[in-house]
């Protein structure tokens, strides 16, 4: 492979993209270091993608293999859509971090090691019989080992911190070194540290001193070989205002924007669950936009309260992850039956059951599309990236209120936690979709017909508190128009048909499916959905550079599917569907279009690598 290796020979030229992984104890502040490095990289104008990978335990036992927390960032001067495959640089803060992460490092890559943590105890915990610094097990890589712990202690000595507190500044020292290596500005981080430790200026100063010391170490240390300063050219991008955004932030902002565009107050019912809690945390801070948040006693109460709020005229929203979504199933059926708007956000994680709480998977697609009792169709939308989650959330709000239906928005742990640069949109560029509540009789005789459907099969939304329109709704089958209890055979047939037709009709109100890379016909279509966008896009791009006839189709509207999708896919000789499950979307495509969609599946809790997708594409076209 000729790609991007940051070894001695190439390091003085500008590499196209660089992948850096920070790994340490889950208590070492690795996610923080990675997050701040992301920010400084974005500020330097590099396109980037990140992949946080942390254990489910909040503070796993120190120094152990399962307590390792890592953060990977891919930045470079061409459009980046994945967090990268193998890292070029690994920063390993202890033996366990080295052991679990170094196999992923590219041959010739650089590993930076804190020798201060390579004591007997930590080596034993990491199950090293001999220190890897003393044998040739790291021969494949450039190793830069020095006592970061001691250097940090020295740097923060003037501030009189205790040993434990002083060592906590290690992550800033390392970050300082990384900033120097990649020619990044320290000032935004210094500002950030001052803000973060505003109440404790000594800690702020100590952390800044550590940051500066790490940077100075890179600049002044007379280190031969590996530690060469790496400059990555800024990526040219569309003019405008940018910020970094995680998927959880984008969903929160998108929901707020969606409710504003609908001219509605929003009610969010949630129950803490990894990795969905971040949305509730964010929305609590946005109450000036008419947001009410409710931390419920359980997942069921969270969705039921949201439905109650929708009934009362708010835009009800709930969010969870697979196990919590399972608990909400019955209530979703009620929202289908009573035809009330509702958004259900599922930040998917590995399953079944508790599964992999902090790892990513796309295995809740069946649950979203089919997972309810009775014939209970619900539109399903999947976000492809953190920034895309903003638009998807708005789209979910639009469909929910325009069709009086619950809508499921699928993201996953990867989209939720990862961040990317995001061009801040102008709110005025979105077309509002204001809601009209029924205010007076709709049968011409002074009565109300709460289930009288319009030409799209949509019933009116009537708020309690409206004079003269008192009516009752519920989960029992109901008569046409009046909504009175009625489960006569012909009534259930007609209402089942009407509910299905309404949701099928959503397909007419969504954009046609496009091909995001390549021709509209050809030998192979790689069809993805959700967070696999990045690796699929890169793999298809590389395959096309080799002259292969392959296109990338990425589907946002999982249910109902875009009207033209079947015909589009029939224009390709082969269809390959990579997904992080055992082949769920493949089944939907086969069922809906009778096409020979072929699965490419992965359920390791890790995203696809570009290399494995590229290999699969080549195998299909061989």
């Amino acid at each position: 492979m000729l790609m991007n290796s940051v070894n001695r020979q190439e390091s003085q030229t500008s590499p196209e993209a660089v992948v850096v992984r920070f790994a340490g104890d889950s208590g070492d502040g690795m996610q923080l270091t990675g997050g701040q490095f992301t920010l400084s990289t974005a500020l330097a104008g590099n396109d980037l993608a990140t992949f946080p990978d942390f254990p489910a335990e909040i503070r796993a036992p120190q120094g152990t293999l399962f307590g390792v927390s890592a953060f990977q960032i891919n930045f470079g001067s061409s459009e980046i859509t994945t967090a990268g495959d193998a890292p070029d640089v690994l920063v390993a803060m202890n033996p366990a971090a080295l052991k679990t992460n170094v196999p992923a490092l590219k041959p010739g890559g650089l590993v930076i090691i804190d020798t201060g943590e390579f004591n007997k105890r930590n080596l034993e915990k990491a199950k090293y019989e001999v220190s890897p610094l003393d044998d040739d097990s790291l021969a494949k890589w450039d190793v830069l080992a020095f006592d970061i712990s001691a250097l940090t202690l020295e740097a923060v000595k003037p501030f009189g911190l205790g040993n434990k507190e002083a060592l906590r500044c290690k992550n800033m020292w390392t970050l300082g070194l990384a900033l120097w290596m990649f020619d990044r500005d320290r000032q935004p981080l210094i500002d950030w540290l001052k803000g973060k430790f505003a109440k404790n200026p000594i800690l702020a100063d100590a952390n800044i001193a550590a940051l500066n010391a790490g940077h100075a170490y890179g600049e002044t240390a007379e280190l031969a070989g590996p530690l060469k300063k790496l400059h990555v050219d800024p990526v040219p991008s569309e003019p405008g205002l940018y910020r970094t955004i995680t998927g959880a932030e984008a969903v929160s902002l998108g929901l707020v924007a969606g409710a504003q565009l609908a001219h509605l107050p929003m009610f969010f019912g949630g129950y803490p669950i990894t990795p969905a809690s971040a949305i509730l945390h964010n929305l609590v801070k946005m109450k000036e936009f008419g947001v009410t948040t409710f931390q419920a006693e359980d997942e069921i109460a969270a969705i039921c309260a949201a439905i109650g709020a929708s009934y009362a005229g708010h835009l009800g929203v709930t969010s969870s992850s697979g196990p919590g979504i399972a608990l909400k199933g019955e209530a979703m059926g009620l929202a289908v039956m009573t035809e009330l708007p509702l958004i259900i956000v599922n930040s998917q994680r590995g399953g079944p059951s508790t599964g992999l709480p902090t790892k990513t998977e796309q295995s809740d697609l069946y649950q979203a599309v089919y997972g309810r009792n009775g014939d209970a169709p619900i539109p399903v939308i999947a976000a492809r990236s953190p920034g895309d989650a903003f638009d998807c959330a708005i789209e979910a709000c639009r469909i929910a209120v325009q069709f009086m239906t619950p809508v499921i928005l699928l993201t996953d742990g990867y989209i939720g936690n990862a961040s990317e640069p995001w061009k801040v949109p102008d709110p005025a560029s979105y077309t509002p979709f204001p809601v009209t509540f029924l205010e007076e009789s709709n049968n011409g005789e002074g009565h109300v017909l709460p289930f009288k459907r319009d030409e799209r099969g949509v019933r009116p939304w009537i708020k309690p508190g409206t004079a003269g329109l008192m009516h009752r709704i519920g989960g029992i089958e109901k008569a046409i128009d009046t909504g009175n209890i009625d489960y006569a055979p012909q009534v259930h047939q007609a209402q089942t048909d009407a509910r299905k037709a309404k949701i099928d009709g959503v397909a007419k109100a969504i954009p046609a499916q496009d091909v995001c890379l390549g021709e509209d016909t050809g030998k192979l279509a790689v069809v993805g959905w959700g967070s696999t966008f990045g690796p699929i896009h890169q793999a298809v791009r590389r395959a096309r550079k080799k002259g292969l006839s392959v296109s990338h189709v990425h589907v946002r509207h999982i249910w109902p599917l875009p009207e033209n999708l079947g015909e589009l896919l029939k224009g390709f000789d082969k269809v390959l569907v990579p997904e992080m499950n055992t082949g769920q979307f493949k089944t939907v495509l086969r069922d809906q279009f009778l096409i020979d969609a072929q699965p490419l599946t992965k359920t390791s809790g890790q995203p696809f690598t570009i290399a494995e997708l590229e290999a699969a594409i080549e195998a299909k076209l061989a």
Binding site: L39, P188, P236, E297
Partner: protein, 346 residues
């Protein structure tokens, strides 16, 4: 804005055009009438009234009241009510639930709506049986209840709804029964209480648990077996010949005889609706050795959940304006100038 003239309605105004579908002789009919009598008395406004129910016989209730109504899913009515009330605190929310719905599948939500103190009236129809599913024993069935799932008598110990409610932190606990002429009085007190008002209503299931409460609801025994709790009045029954007194040795209630109406001499306790300890003792009295405590057992308001949510929100948004553009560009941002974009690739 709002017209403040009191709403004038009659019982008829609260009846819907729907045929009531409970079994003939069901206690629910009497409760429905009591509620429809109560609503005009409290000047309730049909357009601002919402009846929310779960699943079960009792939960058909909303279809028969001419107001807004939501027949939801099993056990979850308190959660729906919470969303409705938080979205629009001006609405009068009534919850209708049963012993299966509210104490079994929905026990968790009953607990939380009470501890949060959402302003609503919770009517728990207790018939000590699962009616709609054809007669299985319920969480309030007495030990030894014969049913399709307990052919030689149930072995589970029953839950006490009012004790549960007090334990969950309820600030209003009352009891009544279906055919009681005093049920509207209890419901009016519940309506006037700001906060979650829990009312257990004993209800006769004519088909699966017939006459279960006859030993205190029948006219001929009522005087001797019912003690009506009224604030500031002595806890007397049996036409004033017996009363409840505090046994200071055991810290519990005891039944005492009252001679010549001199209840003070007999040491009969005076009911105080703000006395939580007394409330606990009254709802736990074993029937038989003691009369059945009815009426408003406990009524001591605290700030309501929705008012606290509104206040918290006002605090959180103080000095903030809803500027979406500003929100989207919050945090550290950078600009890409048009010149820098010239090199834009493919």
């Amino acid at each position: 804005m709002n017209d403040m003239t009191p709403i004038q309605t009659t019982l008829k105004d609260w009846e819907t055009d729907q045929e009531v579908r409970w079994c003939p002789g069901c206690g629910d009919y009497a409760i429905l009438k009591a509620v429809q009598r109560t609503l005009p008395m409290v000047n309730a406004d049909p357009k601002n009234t919402v009846f929310v129910s779960g699943i079960g016989c009792s939960s058909r209730f909303p279809y028969y009241v001419e107001s807004y109504g939501f027949h939801t899913i099993h056990g979850r009515a308190p959660a729906f009510a919470t969303g409705i009330k938080l979205a629009n605190p001006d609405l009068d929310v009534w919850l209708v639930t049963g012993d299966g719905d509210g104490m079994s599948i929905g026990g968790n939500h009953t607990m939380h709506v009470l501890r949060r103190n959402l302003d609503c009236q919770i009517m728990l129809f207790n018939n000590e049986i699962y009616g709609l599913t054809k007669g299985q024993y319920s969480p309030t069935s007495r030990v030894g209840t014969n049913s399709p799932t307990s052919p030689i008598g149930s072995v589970d110990r029953p839950a006490l709804p009012c004790a549960f409610a007090l334990g969950a932190g309820a600030r209003f606990v009352a009891r009544g029964y279906d055919i009681s002429k005093d049920l509207p009085e209890v419901l009016i007190a519940a309506y006037n209480h700001k906060g979650a008002a829990f009312v257990e209503i004993f209800q006769n299931c004519i088909v699966y648990n017939k006459d279960r409460f006859d030993d205190f609801t029948q006219k001929k025994v009522a005087d001797d077996t019912q003690v009506w709790c009224r604030d500031g009045e002595p806890l007397l029954f049996a036409k004033g010949t017996q009363g409840l007194a505090l046994d200071c040795d055991t810290l519990s209630l005891k039944v005492v005889d009252v001679a010549d109406g001199d209840w003070q001499a007999a040491g009969v306790a005076v009911h105080n609706v703000k006395n939580r300890g007394l409330a606990h003792m009254l709802v736990e009295m074993p029937f038989g050795a003691f009369p059945m405590a009815l009426g408003v057992i406990y009524d001591d308001p605290r700030p309501t959940f929705e008012s606290e949510v509104v206040a918290e929100r006002a605090k959180l948004i103080e000095g903030k304006t809803a500027d979406l553009g500003k929100l989207l560009s919050k945090g550290q941002t950078w600009s890409v100038e048009p010149e820098a974009a010239h090199g834009l690739m493919d």
